[in-house]
Structure formats: structure tokens, C-alpha cells
């Protein structure tokens, strides 16, 4: 390559210069004692123990380049891991990221992906302490997240007690609604090529949106660029369409609602993030504790989501009960606890087993079970 042409692809720039580039000027969180550049990073464990979680995101399964910008993908990869850390009652401190990408990936794409990761890492209170960069036929992002428990012990899924109050922090069903909008071809997407040789925005229209399983050709070049969406639908629910698409692209777990409660001394008996869907995740919680959970469907009613569902001839309750990936938080609070700010009661815990909605069983071989999405590697969701 000539000196006058800046390197456009990962292959042209090379691994080490790219690693330097994406780490340049970054400020590590206080817990990260040693950042990138040695055999390993070093993190502080203020309490003598730490929580660890890992999630892998694969192009074409967990994100699509025609649906999400690289910055969105970076934020999502960090957010879903940070949510797992917070769901243990822990403050996120650091992340390590292994990134696999084709050699023809645009340097600008990696810049944007990395910027999105840093944005979300800082939002969660941590930083990116290290990683690995390898060649792969398609984008693969594997994030491992670390955190310091705020209380004396991590908060597991298994502590629910009869008489407790089930409450949620954050939105439910919006990511599933956004998926339905995108998968149903109800949004045009445009990809704006923003490389050094810059071009006009090109419309990708509806191409490929029917098949959420579509894998792009291995080794296909990945352009940098931003992504805009224009809705095929307008009318009264236009704002909700856009909000749902945004929610699907980048989950916004309400980290602070959980962490502020804990810092104020309000400690739930059990805590999890909603990644597989409310029913599935509450079922894990009920099973782990050997209790029954009943959900009050009226408490889950969301007028804006309902307006969107009506416009799409869909069922808002299904999105709320079975949609994953919003990474809201569910907790069981001890009996008689006044809920901390940002938490809304949605049900209660009793002796028994399983999960019911308004007293009606939804477990077993029918009902909501078939939508739970938690029983197969075929589902794209990461926990």
C-alpha cells in the first residue's frame, strides 16, 4: 500500500497497529490495575471475590449487519454481559473482548464497534481491560465481564422465599417487538458507507430481512458505516415502531436502578436479568428456589407497546412474557419490603412450584412454553 493511502482494511493495517489504534487514549476504570499490552490484564477485587460471565455473539445469529450499526453491535455485546454482572448484585469493573473478523473488514468498522463497546462499558461503570483479535469467516464477538459484589455476597437466582414480592426494573417486550418490526419487513434499512473513498447512502431495502437466520457469505468484506432506519409504517404508532427497533438494536439495562438500591442497603432475596424471556427466567428462579411464582398480567400492561402490537396485528402480552434480550432485571424482594425507586411489582411468591399468570399455569407442554425459546441452541439469544 502506498504511504498516501491510509489502510482501509484490517489486513492492510495489521493486528498490532489495530490493537494500538482501538486502545489509544482510553482511560481504564480504577479497578483495572493493568490494561492491554502484557500476557494478561490485572484487576482489583475489592471484596476478595469477583463475578465473571461470558457471552458470545455471532454475526447472522445475534446481530445482523443490515439491521444494526457497528456501534449498536458493540454496545449490545457489552450491555448483555454487564447486565449479567449487575444481576449478581455486582458493580461492573472490566471487560475483555475476543473479536474474530474477516481480514477484509474495514478499519472504520472496528473503530465504530470498539467505540460502541467503550461507550457501554463506561455507562456500566467499567472499562475494556484487554482482548484478542483473530481472523474469522464472519464476525464473532466474545465478551467476558467482571464485577465487584456490592454487598457481602453475590445475589443468586435461588433465594426467593414464599411471601416475597416479584418486581421488575426496566422495559419488557420492546426488543421482541423491534425484532418483529425488522423481521416482518416493516422497516427499510439504509447503510451509509463511510470509508475513506466515501459514497452516497445506498438503499438496501428489504433484501434479506425475511430470514433472520441468514448467514452472510464467509469472508465477505465488512464495510464501516452508520445505519439509519426508515419505517414503512407511519400513522399513530410511528414513535413506537422506532422505539422498538432501537430497543432491539441496543438493550438499555437499567444498571443504576439495581446498583443504587443495593448501595442504599435494599437487598433482594433473588435477582436475575431477563434474557430468555420473563416466563423462562422466572421459571429458572422458581425452580432454583423450589417455590411458585404468580404474575399479575395487569401489572405488565404497557399502553405504548399495546398500540404498536395493535398496529402490527400482534400480541403485546406475548412479547412481554416471552421476549428476551431487553435485559431488564427481575427480583424477589422479602415480604413487606417497600420497593426501591425504579422497581415495579409484577407478582408474588408462594409455596409450590412453577410459574402462573393470573393463577393459570403456563408451564408444561403448551401455553407459553412453546415460545419460551430457552430450550435450544437454535435460538439466537445469549444468557
Amino acid at each position: 500500500m502506498s504511504e498516501s493511502t491510509p489502510p482501509r482494511t484490517v489486513r492492510e493495517l495489521g493486528e498490532f497497529p489495530l490493537i494500538e489504534r482501538i486502545n489509544a487514549g482510553r482511560v481504564q476504570s480504577p479497578a483495572v490495575r493493568l490494561g492491554p499490552g502484557d500476557d494478561a490484564a490485572v484487576l482489583a477485587a475489592a471484596r476478595g471475590h469477583y463475578v465473571v460471565t461470558t457471552d458470545m455473539l455471532v454475526q447472522g445469529r445475534h446481530f445482523r449487519l443490515d439491521w444494526s450499526s457497528p456501534r449498536d453491535i458493540g454496545r449490545k455485546a457489552i450491555a448483555q454481559n454487564a447486565a449479567d454482572v449487575v444481576a449478581m448484585g455486582a458493580q461492573p469493573t472490566g471487560f475483555v473482548v475476543a473479536l474474530g473478523c474477516p481480514a477484509e473488514t474495514a478499519v472504520g468498522f472496528v473503530d465504530e464497534l470498539s467505540a460502541g463497546m467503550w461507550d457501554e462499558a463506561v455507562r456500566a461503570g467499567g472499562s475494556i481491560a484487554g482482548g484478542d483479535l483473530v481472523r474469522s469467516p464472519q464476525l464473532v464477538i466474545s465478551v467476558t465481564a467482571f464485577g465487584d459484589p456490592i454487598g457481602p455476597a453475590p445475589i443468586t437466582r435461588s433465594g426467593a422465599r414464599a411471601g416475597g414480592t416479584v418486581a421488575v426494573a426496566g422495559r419488557l417486550g420492546w426488543s421482541a417487538a423491534g425484532y418483529a418490526v425488522l423481521a416482518g419487513g416493516r422497516a427499510h434499512t439504509w447503510s451509509t458507507q463511510a470509508g475513506p473513498t466515501q459514497a452516497e447512502p445506498t438503499q438496501s431495502g428489504f433484501a434479506d430481512v425475511e430470514s433472520p437466520e441468514a448467514d452472510p457469505a464467509p469472508g465477505k468484506s465488512i464495510e464501516d458505516g452508520s445505519m439509519t432506519v426508515e419505517l414503512a409504517e407511519g400513522g399513530s404508532a410511528a414513535g413506537e415502531f422506532a422505539a422498538a427497533v432501537a430497543a432491539h438494536r441496543v438493550p438499555q439495562p437499567p444498571y443504576r436502578v439495581v446498583l443504587d438500591a443495593l448501595a442504599a442497603g435494599a437487598v433482594p432475596d433473588a435477582l436475575t436479568d431477563i434474557s430468555d424471556g420473563l416466563l423462562a427466567d422466572l421459571r429458572h428462579m422458581a425452580d432454583a428456589a423450589g417455590v411458585a411464582i404468580d404474575i399479575d398480567s395487569a401489572a405488565l400492561y404497557d399502553p405504548a407497546l399495546d398500540a404498536l402490537a395493535t398496529a402490527m396485528d400482534a400480541d403485546a402480552a406475548q412479547w412481554v412474557l416471552t421476549g428476551g434480550e431487553d435485559h431488564a432485571f427481575a427480583a424477589v424482594w422479602p415480604p413487606e419490603t417497600e420497593l426501591p425507586p425504579g422497581w415495579a411489582r409484577i407478582g408474588s411468591v408462594a409455596p409450590g412450584h412453577g410459574v402462573t399468570v393470573d393463577g393459570v399455569s403456563v408451564s408444561g407442554g403448551g401455553g407459553w412454553e412453546s415460545f419460551s425459546g430457552a430450550d435450544s441452541v437454535d435460538r439466537g439469544r445469549s444468557r
Copy 2:
């Protein structure tokens, strides 16, 4: 699937049953306070801080299914991460593993992969504390490893001082030699299908061995089974051929040689593992400390490797100086230190910069530089 047929693929078995299956009966290391099954794992940090490293391995780049058994691949994935932890002067405590695989992957393949990971994790003194399982067009394994520093502080690459002694623990060049044997078509490989409906061994012969870059078709099914190798070469170097192939498949970092020295109070000024090649990794060390390193080539002479190189009309010195993936350890010991057991002197540190062999510069735009393999994402090596 009928009740009389055990599930043969990951798709048939499902994600959660597969996770249960590979975790069944496993005993966590004492540092792992909470293992798989919740939003995150919990590990103890005996010294109030911990080291973290991550490496991603992609099928067709970092391993090949026709060259390595699933058990070999699992061991390698853990070993290269554990070596990075030990290279910080830390005792490996735990690992988390994100695994992407096609839905048609045989359950028995994942069993073997997991068994290999556990074997190596236990060998390194840790256990597998959690993970993620997702669908991917080809196998992708992302490991993050954790460790407790043995001394009061981690040992970085950057502490080398003039007058120090450069020493190595472990073998060099054997993995590169094994790669040369396999890539040169000098070994037949057989894959033994070991599924429930199992059959005779089938010879895969030389198919595909010419192209180490070959990516298998996305979504191709992955069979379980073991792998044997029969050498096309025999004669005086037959034992060395087999040893080199074994070294390429499964690196055997001498964890205990490093950890025992530290436990006995022998602390080097600088420490790293050899993953990019001796010259490249010593150059990182020299650059980080602002010193010069000279290697004594006579100290690197390995008669067995030389016999193999002669039989292959290859250059043993090149394997030793530039071959990565053996995950031996290199350290700079303070002046006048008596080397601990298992360490062999290979050179010395002086004021200046760069790396020389017998006083001759090997940095810059020629010499060994072109083999260093450390400057591009196109190389399959993970650090």
C-alpha cells in the same frame, strides 16, 4: 426423535441439557465459589487482585478437525490461556468458555472437547467455572482464564534489567515442526467415527492438508470421534515426526516449572510465554523494558529437532527462533541469580535495544523479521 434413539446432535439434545451434560460430576477448584447455573460465576481473589486473559480459536485457523481430535482442541484452547496466566506469575484458578458450533455438531464431539478442556484446566490447577453455548457456522472457542498472583505483584514483560540472564522453560520449535509435518502432507490422518451408530475407521488421507487456511463449509456437520495419525515418513526420525505432530496438537506449557520457582521465592524480573515465536516475544520484552537482548544460538540447539529438520530438509533454527504456539516460558532473571530447576540459560540482557542472535541483529526489514508472524491478523496464532 424417538425415545429409543439417544440424541446425536446438539440440535436434538438442546442447549440446556447439553450444558447439564458437560457439567455433570465436575468438581470445581477451591477458588471457584459459585460455578455454572446462575447469571455469573463467583471466584475468590486470595490477594485482592487477579489476572485475566482471553484467546479465541477459530476452526480452520487455529485448529483443523482433520488434524486434531476434539480432545486435543479442548486441551489446546485451555493450555494457551493458562500459559498466559502463568506468564504473569499467577496460579490459574478458573476458566470460562464460550463455544459456538453448528446445530448438527455431534453431542459426542462436544463431550470430547469438554473433556479435553477439563483435563487441561485441572492440569493447570483450575476448573471451568461457566460459559456460553451458541450456534455458529463453524466451531469458535473463546476462553477467558483467571489466576491468583503468587507473589505480591504480577510479573510483567517489562521488568528486564541490563546484566540479567535470559532463560527458557519448556521446548521451542516443536509445534512449528509439527505444523510443517502436517501441512507438508507428511502424515496420514484417520478420523474414527464414534457415534452411537458407529462404524469402521475411515481414512481421510491427504485430503485438505495442503491448505491450512481452508475453511470448511458453514454449517457442515461435525462428527465426534478420535483421531489417529500414521506417518508417511519412517526411518531414523520416526519418533521425532510423531513428537512434533503431538506438540502441534497439544502444547504442554511447563506450568509447574514456573509456579514452583515462584513458590520457592525465585522471582524473575520479567516473564512471558512464547506464543508468537521466541524472537518476536523477546522483542516485546526488550522493547517494553528499553533494553537489548542477545541470544546464544548454541544454547538453543536441540539434537532431536535437528534430526527431524534434516529428514525434512528444513531449518531447525528457524522453527526454534520463530515458531510460536509451544507456550514455553521465557524469563529474565536478575544478575547473579542461580537459575531454578527446569530453566535453561539462552542469552543475556544489556543496555540498548532490539534482539540479536550471537551478536547479529535480526530486527529491521529482513532476517528473521519476515518469519516473526506477529504483525498481522492473517496469522492464525493467538497470544
